[in-house]
């Protein structure tokens, strides 16, 4: 309810220069502070403070299961990690996984989006159907693929069998495990790229195609010189987003392979978990985590910079 007393105050401040301390700017600022600080407070306590704590722990030999107080060890944890061949091995696995999955998703996602964009009818239904995998929880996706890829009674081997191929131990062989992981991630996230590529394709102005067809430009020319340049900026956003997500990935690995067989599917995320929660080497795991956060921050900065450029441009 507007109280009647508000009227004179407002009108007075509108008519005469605002008195100090009563200016609308200042109340605005106070209001902004009141509105923003609770959200900021939550982020500071739940995101920033824990990271600072991890930063502190990363310089100590603290272990979550020992009662002993943490001893300061300087950069020892960091040098241990950066000189460990194990860690570089995990980094390589992560790199293969991220590039493999994101590349496959991009090609497939863009391809599907392009095919859908050329249809006149049934586009809404098609898009909705294609989006289903993306909305599922990684737990559901992981479990289900684990069942489908089962060596004995999995449906994939059963189908291969009826085509005359032998059994493949998808998740328990060094060679195929990482590949299977990439396939599952691709299955789940191709729709993401597709959705964003489709948004990009929607935004290409029709007159460009009309002009091109007046000039009798070939299909390939139109694709190469109109479609691709118009969609590329948005597609790149999607790719970078997926790369960050793939780098952070944990749940699919945990459910599908638990890093195995051996360490063939152990990504950096999974290795941090092992160091922290199985080895209880909290200090070392914190240093590891901080290094990963640095990578994510660099990637996220690139992403946000690019996003910002796109918005302004």
């Amino acid at each position: 309810m507007t109280t009647t007393t508000d009227h004179p105050v407002q009108e007075a401040s509108a008519a005469s220069p605002p008195a100090p301390g009563r200016s609308p700017r200042l109340t605005d600022r106070r209001l902004a502070l009141v509105f923003i600080s609770p959200a900021m407070l939550l982020l500071l306590t739940m995101s920033v403070f824990p990271l600072l704590w991890a930063l502190y722990l990363s310089f100590t030999d603290y272990s979550a299961t020992r009662d002993a107080p943490a001893d300061f060890v300087g950069f020892e944890n960091y040098t241990t990690i950066l000189t460990s061949p194990e860690v570089w091995q995990r980094a390589l696995t992560t790199l293969v996984y991220v590039t493999g999955a994101v590349a496959l998703q991009t090609v497939l996602g863009f391809g599907i989006a392009y095919l859908i964009s050329r249809r006149t009818r049934g586009r809404g239904v098609l898009t909705t159907l294609f989006l289903v995998p993306m909305m599922l929880s990684p737990v559901v996706v992981g479990l289900f693929w684990k069942f489908m890829l089962d060596a004995q009674f999995g449906v994939i081997n059963s189908m291969l069998g009826s085509l005359g191929f032998g059994q493949v131990e998808w998740l328990t062989r060094q060679r195929t495990a990482l590949f299977s992981l990439i396939v599952v991630d691709t299955w789940q996230w191709t729709p993401f790229i597709m959705l964003i590529a489709l948004a990009g394709l929607t935004a290409v102005p029709k007159y460009l195609y009309e002009a091109a067809s007046i000039d009798r430009a070939s299909e390939w020319f139109r694709f190469r010189h109109i479609t691709l340049p118009m969609v590329w900026p948005l597609l790149l956003i999607a790719v970078m987003f997926r790369a960050i997500e793939a780098f952070r990935l944990f749940d699919l690995v945990y459910i599908l392979t638990s890093g195995g067989p051996g360490v063939s599917t152990e990504t950096l995320s999974f290795h941090v978990y092992k160091v922290a929660f199985l080895g209880f080497n909290t200090g070392l795991a914190s240093a590891y985590g901080i290094l990963m956060v640095l990578v994510v921050i660099v990637l996220a900065q690139l992403y946000l910079r690019y996003l910002n450029k796109l918005k302004e441009g």
Partner: protein, 302 residues
């Protein structure tokens, strides 16, 4: 404007093709439709297989070669999801209930904190606003496995380990950046002039927000809340590390726990996965107009 998936792409390029190229276009169109169908089948097959497995008798679930058709239909697995073997409530149904409580409460919290902040970021000129907004979004990019280490220690000090409150807080913290970014887009779409006009009528800034802008934001808030709900509902990493007891455990770790033993009841896994995924798909369908913004954490919208 957010891009709706229902919105048509401007007429297909083939329509404009010169007449002599049309005939070749027909053959090409058939190929394209076939390709699209094949891809759609490949994408949907796992989902259909999950549905099928959830209604198969156990002996058909493990049949080699796999039975695609001609199996006996049973709803026993769905019964097992909700009812324990000896009667009474099953453990899984308790986990589903926990998921509803945790996802619901964290969404409410994220919305209550995020919407006013989004409005303030949209309306006021603030110091280093862009940096603040980018900082907010980058907290959401942190790897959960890394964040969970200090959170675990912090919760142990505060006695929040294995409590619903602990989960609600961490989920709210990871949904707030999303809510702010997503809602800022919606607030930007409401002209600030509406509030100015209301203030000329004697409303204070706060009243203008409450009575003029907020009612216009309701559809946006609903869409944003639905996404936050889906994120919390699907979340697994924090849930598995921060909870352990049956009374607190949410559905994702509970379902993942079904494959822990030596023998796995895949029919039950399939049925619980279906029960778990169904609400998400319904909700996602409701917010399909905002999917592009939703899945990019509110960063991409046009």
């Amino acid at each position: 404007m957010a891009i709706s998936i229902d919105e048509a792409v401007p007429g297909p390029a083939t329509d404009d093709a010169p007449a002599e190229r049309r005939r070749g276009g027909r053959g090409r169109m058939v190929v394209e439709v076939l390709l699209l169908t094949a891809l759609a089948v490949a994408m949907l097959f796992p989902v259909l297989w999950m549905l099928e497995t959830s209604i198969k008798e156990n002996r058909d679930v493990y049949a080699v070669p796999a039975k695609f058709f001609g199996f006996d239909i049973t709803l026993d697995h769905y019964k097992d999801v909700f009812v324990a073997r000896g009667g009474g409530q099953s453990d899984l149904s308790g986990s589903f209930l926990n998921s509803v409580v945790v996802a619901g409460a964290s969404t409410v919290l994220a919305t209550v904190l995020g919407v006013p902040a989004a409005w303030a970021y949209s309306r006021f000129t603030l110091k280093a606003k862009k940096d603040q907004l980018f900082f907010i979004l980058s907290t959401r990019f942190m790897p959960p496995v890394v964040v969970v280490i200090p959170i675990f220690l912090m919760y142990r000090e505060l006695g929040l380990i294995d409590s619903k409150l602990g989960l609600v807080l961490i989920y709210a913290a990871f949904n707030v950046p999303f809510t702010i970014w997503m809602m800022k887009g919606f607030v930007d779409e409401v002209p600030a002039e509406y509030e100015d006009a209301a203030m000329l009528d004697g409303y204070t800034r706060l009243q203008a927000f409450w009575r003029v802008t907020l009612p216009l934001l309701v559809p946006g808030i609903a869409a944003t809340a639905v996404f936050a709900l889906i994120f919390s509902w699907n979340e697994f990493v924090f849930a598995i590390f921060l909870t352990s007891s049956q009374e607190v455990r949410t559905a994702p770790p509970a379902i993942a726990g079904l494959i822990g033993g030596t023998t796995v009841d895949w029919g039950l896994v399939a049925a619980s996965a279906v029960v778990f995924a169904l609400p998400v798909l319904v909700f996602a369908y409701l917010v399909r107009k905002h999917l592009v913004a939703g899945v990019t954490l509110g960063a991409v919208r046009r």
